[in-house]
Structures are given as structure tokens and as C-alpha cells.
Symmetry: D2
Subunit: 203 residues, 4 copies
């Protein structure tokens, strides 16, 4: 069983990414449960605007799309900007819009029986809304989302430094605990669907 | 296997409810798959404000809470007012906030391994946002949501009449089709989790 | 110039309300700018479900509605439950839905040239989303919202105690500063519209 | 008085844009009230990821930023994808995040006393949520938003063709009417703030 973690930070490698730091906590928890994670930093790739699976010359999306469909678990990880998910995360969701009309060789919509989880960081309040937006988007595309399949971190009303620079705190401890819960629930849901798949939808 | 459908219309019985009309389409589709549905029209009951499972004298929530936990599938059905879910739906969500700290006799959070689906109607645009709000809320409380576990209906930009008065239309046909998909996915996910439950969360 | 502050806590008087505590900070800032505030704790009143201005016997909404229309500034103040606005706040918005079809004796929609501001508290992340929901609702009903017309407080990822019990912190200082900005912008926008009203909408 | 309309379609020129078609209806209504509009199709430009006003070599944002600040009225126009605003619209919002710390030569935050309006199209339900997201973002950045400063169009539950191909309908008529209301309110609010500006925020 594999997980793909798409880090939707606005910062290219090698800049530090707070979102990646918290996503790695989730990856560690997945690994404890036997699931290897691959990371993609989306902004390092040329993901063209559009809503098809291949937008033509220079489009890096097709290779990311393959990784999504090869993994049982997809993790969308986004920073919070102006209280909302990043444009990079929204771009990934737009490209997955094509999943709505794509079926595999057994007539299954391609996202069915894949599960999705979420990681959000930010300086300030906004994470739960970012999670809600990503949950609703992936559910509409056919992914299944188990309860409490997310972890987040921010300073609330206090602004202040990012996840990486922040000293050990109650908030960071809770984010780590939530990552463990998310990993447990994601792996269990993925296994349940592997054993008992949701069938292709009725016509 | 049982479903509980909480109709969160603002109108008391016996007023016609567009939301109930579409929820009955989903109930029929659940029945075809062997699942009986019970309906609760929340506004007929005295659900006190608060975030505990029993807010004291006169509170009708405890009996609704029992029905939720007795059913494998919960359907939240809401009208759309000013582009948002009804106050009655939000009240039900608030009362389920208590699920976050309640465990069953096997140490499971009470909402774990329950699945949730959604029905939304309205005159005008807004349904997907109402669905998103309800999805995020129930996921946070521990429910699992399979892909495409919803159906909705409205006139988009056109305003006009409600679901019940609306003549047969492409929109109504699509709502019926989406109800069948939702039923199929909800029943399959509930069965998958019954056979392979998500375990109690790590400490 | 007057402000009406509707506190949408779930707790009846005389229970302490964190939301009221932060709303009083905003009221103090409004007072410094010559604006008196009246508080209504909505849950103390019997606000019937519905979308008209008078839902009949026992409905306390008509008197609150009058206060809203008598004040140039409306402040909606809500706690955060499961990441969303309270059912009490949603109920108030639903009842204001009637404003869409009501005009004053000069043919103005009743909410035109009224301005709206927002106060949100909670233990945990979610405030900006609650603000966004309330902003969008009141804008749809005809209120004008100036920039940065809100203040909020929570602990972010840390959970922990509420606004009242929380020790002095960077977050609380920022909430006080934001209240001053909100008051300044609300009073200025209300004065601008008093001098130069938005006209009745074209047919 | 000038308006800048940023069309956030995913399709580059010269592809037809439903969003632009409805935005042109709003531009016509602005023109009737003495306001000229300039259109920018954002996806034709290289707007780099980031949250500063200039992200370096090749960044086309600085010239768009100047146009925003030169106009009294900003219109964000977005399609609806998976129920949400486009990645292109989110990118524009992220780049405006820098407005939070930028002041003009009179110590005003740069977005203060600018007003914002909204245009949203899509096949299916979702517009009001897209409007809400854009409203909340621009309000946080300092723009003022008058009531009912938007127009939208979609088919609701029916899917079907886009705005341009859609035959004359009740929905299209309502979108035109709402564009006239939006133009009236935007111009009036911009004039009110020009005559009575919101002052620089208190320290």
C-alpha cells in the first residue's frame, strides 16, 4: 500500500516548507502502519491550467496523475493564504476534475476506492476551512474520506512564526497526535475498501 | 443495516418539504439495496442549544442521538437559505459535537464506522457549499464519507419554484441519478467498514 | 449613530460568553468613535424558524428586526462550533432573508446603507471561515461591509481555554487591535453612506 | 472613475470565456454609470507563485498590481471548478496578500477605499460559494464590498451548456438584472468613499 503526498506550498525546492514538515510527520505515522509515502512538491512542476488529464506540450500533470492513481492513499497538503487553500492546491484539484469522466479497465471511476487525507499549515487561523474545501473537492471526484483524516497547525489569532520555527507547544503536540489518528484511519479505510470495494456507480 | 435521515427543513409537519421529497428518492434507492430508512423532521422536536448530549429538561436530542448511533448510515438533508445550510442542520451538528469525547463500550469514538450522506435542495445556487459544510463537520466528528454520497437540486441562477412544484427537467433527472449513486456508495462503504472496522484511534 | 450587537452564543444569560467579552472590546472601540452599542443575546429570545419577518405567535424576532433596522451598524458575533458559525447566528441570518423583498418608505431595500461587522471566538481554528460565511450572507441581503471589519480570537491548533480564561497573550493583543481597526472602518463607512447613500437598485 | 476586471478563466485568449461574457454585461452597466472598465485575462500573463508584490524575473504581476491600485473598482471574475474558484483567481488573491503590509504615501493601506465586485459562471451549482470566498479574501485585504455587488450564472443541478451557448432563459435575465444592481451599488459605494474616505487604521 502506497501514499502520494502532494505538497502544495508556493515555495519551490529547496526552500523550507512548513507544510512539508508537518506532512512528514504524517508520512512517519503512515510508515509505522506499513505504508510508504512519495512526496511531490507541485510547484516544482509545470502543471498547466485546464481541466483535462493532459493539457499538451510541456504539461507535467500526466506523470503526477499516474502517481495519484498508483497510490491507494492521496494526501493533499496546503498552506493557508488569506484563509484559503493555495492556488497550487486548487490547480491540482482542477486537473483531477477529469477524473469525473474517466473509468479504469473495469469500468470504475478512477478515483473510486482511493482514500484521501489532508495536511494544512499557516501562521494564522484558516486551516479547518482549507481542509473542508479539499475534502469536499476530493469527495466530489470520487475519493473516500474517513473521519479525522487530517492534521493542521497554526497560531490562531496570534500570527507569529511558522511551524518549523515555532517552539515545542501544545499546538504542535496536538498536530502530531492528529497525524497519528489520521494515519490510522486512512490506512484502515484503504484496507477496508481494498477488501470490499465500492462498486462502479449505477447508470 | 439502517439509515437515519434527518430532514433539517425550517417547516414543521405537515407542511410540504422539498428537502424531504428529494430525501425520499434517496431512501428509495437505499431500500433497493436492502437498507431501511427512518425519517426525523428535526424542527418538529425541541432540540435545545448546546454542545452536550443532553441539555436537560425538555431536550428532545437524546432520543434523536440514539437513533443516529443505532443506524449505520446517517443522511443529513438540508434546505439552502442565503446560500448556506439551515439553522436546524447546524443545531444538529452542534449537538453531535459531543461525539468527539464519547466512546462506546469498546473504546471506539461513537461516530467511527458510521457513514454519512447528504441531500440538499433550494430555489437557487448554493447546494454544493451546503454539502461541503456538512461533509466537513461530520468528518471532523468521526463519520466516514464515501465519494459522491450526495444529491442536490436547485434552479441555479434562475430562482423559480421548488423541487416539488418544478416540472420534470434535466436537473431533476440528474438529482435522481445522483441519489442512486449516493445510495450505492453509502451502502458499499458501510458494509466495508462493518467487515473491516476502523480501529479506535491511537492515544 | 448606533450599533446593534447580536451575540449568537449558545449559552443563555447569565452564563459567561467569550463571544460577548470580545464583542465588548469592539463596543468600547465604537464608543470612542461616538457610537453607542446595544447588545442582544439572541438565545435568550424565542426566534422561530422561518424566513419571514414575523412567524406568528410567540415569535421574538420582530422586536430584534426593528433594532437591526434602527441601527446604522450591525455586529454579528458568533462562537465557533465544529469550525462553523452557531445555529443561533444562522437562525438570525435566515430571518433576515426577508430583507431581500422588503423596502422602506423611500423604496430602498431595508438593509441598504447599513454596514456590518463581525466578532468570532472559539477554542480552536475556524474563525475566518465563520467571518466569511457571515460576510457573504449579509452582503447578499444588502448590507455593506468595509474592509477588515472584524476581530476574532482562538488558540489555533492548541485548543485550550476560552477567551475569558486565557491569559494575556499575543493573540488577545491582536484581537484588541483588530477591534479598533474594525470600529474605525465601520464608523467611517457608515458615515460615508449616510452622506452619500447607495441608491435604490435599478428595476 | 475606473474599473479593472480580472477574468480568472483557465482558458487563454482567444478561447471563448463564459466568465468574460458575463463580465462584459457588468462592464456595460458600469459604463452606463460613467465608469470605464479595463479587462485583464490573468491566464495570459505569467503570474508567479508567491505572496510578495514582485516575485522577480519574468513576473507579470507588478503591472497587474498597478492597474488594480489605479482603479477605484476591482472586479474579480471566476469560473467554477469542482464547486470552487479557479486556481487563477486564488493566485491573484495570494499576490494581493502583500497589500496587507503596503501603505501609500499618505500611510493608507493600499486597498483601503477601493471597492470590489464579483462575477461567477459555471455549468453547475457553486457560484455563491465562489463569490463568498472572493468577498472574504478581498475584505481581509482592505477592500470595501457593497451589498449585492455580484452577478452569477449557472444551470443549477442540470449541468448542460455554458453561459455563451445557453439560450435566453430566466437565469440569464436574472444575471443581467443582478449585473445592473451590482454596477449601481459599486459605483455608489466608490463615490461615497471618494468623498468620505475610510481613514488609515489606528496603530
Amino acid at each position: 500500500m502506497k501514499a502520494l503526498i502532494i505538497n502544495c506550498t508556493l515555495k519551490k525546492s529547496r526552500a523550507d516548507s512548513n507544510t512539508e514538515a508537518l506532512a512528514r510527520v504524517l508520512a512517519d505515522e503512515l510508515k509505522k502502519r506499513g505504508v510508504e509515502s512519495e512526496f511531490v512538491r507541485a510547484v516544482d512542476h509545470n502543471i498547466l491550467p485546464g481541466v483535462t488529464s493532459n493539457e499538451g506540450a510541456g504539461d507535467d500533470w500526466p506523470k503526477i496523475r499516474s502517481k495519484i492513481l498508483d497510490a491507494e492513499i492521496l494526501i493533499l497538503a496546503s498552506p493557508t493564504w488569506v484563509g484559503r487553500l493555495s492556488s497550487v492546491a486548487q490547480r491540482a484539484i482542477e486537473r483531477m476534475d477529469a477524473f469525473l469522466s474517466e473509468t479504469d479497465d473495469q469500468e470504475y471511476p478512477v478515483a473510486y476506492n482511493h482514500v484521501a487525507g489532508f495536511v494544512v499549515t499557516g501562521n494564522e487561523d484558516g486551516a479547518k476551512h482549507v481542509i473542508a474545501e479539499m475534502e469536499a473537492s476530493l469527495l466530489e471526484l470520487g475519493f473516500t474520506v474517513p473521519g479525522q483524516a487530517w492534521t493542521y497547525w497554526n497560531n490562531g489569532a496570534a500570527l507569529g512564526s511558522g511551524y518549523l520555527e515555532n517552539p515545542e507547544s501544545n499546538g504542535k503536540k496536538r498536530a502530531v497526535k492528529n497525524a497519528a489518528i489520521a494515519a490510522s484511519n486512512l490506512v484502515a479505510a484503504a484496507k477496508a475498501l481494498a477488501a470490499h470495494p465500492i462498486p462502479a456507480p449505477p447508470d
